[in-house]
């Protein structure tokens, strides 16, 4: 059963992540700002997680490395979101001075 469900889940995750990244990239092209770059990279970790899932399924990586990579990507995503919020504050501080 799991052998059928996992590929389907990974497929849905890949399509959804690709769509979100597409929208984020379009927004990045408009705004061309550091916070938007970081937000786009944060969403890119979703696609990376799916890729790691596929790598485990095809036994390209072992369970131990898979686990490390997945949690590493979680940390990266959280870090990128924090950095985006931080740089947005800094960017806004500059515009407030200009106003």
């Amino acid at each position: 059963m799991a052998s059928v469900v996992l590929p389907v889940v990974l497929g849905v995750a890949a399509i959804a992540a690709a769509l979100v990244i597409g929208v984020a990239l379009a927004a990045l092209v408009q705004r061309r700002s550091v916070p938007y770059l970081l937000v786009t990279l944060a969403f890119a970790t979703l696609l990376a997680r799916t890729a790691v899932g596929v790598a485990l399924m095809t036994e390209t990586v072992g369970p131990a490395l898979h686990h490390t990579l997945e949690h590493g990507l979680d940390a990266a995503m959280a870090g990128l979101v924090i950095a985006a919020v931080y740089t947005a504050r800094r960017a806004r501080g500059v515009t407030d001075d200009d106003a």
């Binding site: 929208v23 984020a24 379009a26 927004a27 092209v29 408009q30 705004r31 916070p35 938007y36 937000v39 985006a84 919020v85 947005a88 504050r89 806004r92 515009t95």
Partner: protein, 164 residues
Amino acid sequence: MTTRERISAHVEAEPGVHFNELVRELDLAPGQVQYHLKRLDVVADEWFGKTHYYPAAYDEWDRRALALLRRETAADVVAVLLADGPLSAGETADRVGIARSTLSWHRDRLETAGLVETRPDRGHTLLFVPEPERTARLLDRAEPSLPGRLVDRFTRLVDALLEE
């Protein structure tokens, strides 16, 4: 209806339509659309890095205005100012329901196009629509595309989250 008539009707119905939208919505090959557009009485115009197509009847001011008004958020800002303007930037952002940073990004482009102007008022800056009738008429004709809506809503969300 011939293919050429369909393309012509679509540009007429959605002035400012992108090339990709024509291809997608009419379900035609890009080469086909290109071929017919060259032979139709339509104006191709590049605004903000995208080529838009318009019926020949629209002048340059209208064409640039439509390119902006086809963006959901920009259209919302203009609609609020048409209804309740002149308003301060903060009041405008509150009424549209967007973050200050979202407003300032759209405001730059709206001012460049002459759709929105500012005037000083007792130490504040007020935003208003200098050409209300003309702008309202174009606002009626502007129809956002689905990808455009998605990106606009995404930027609204991200700006609001980063604003905290």
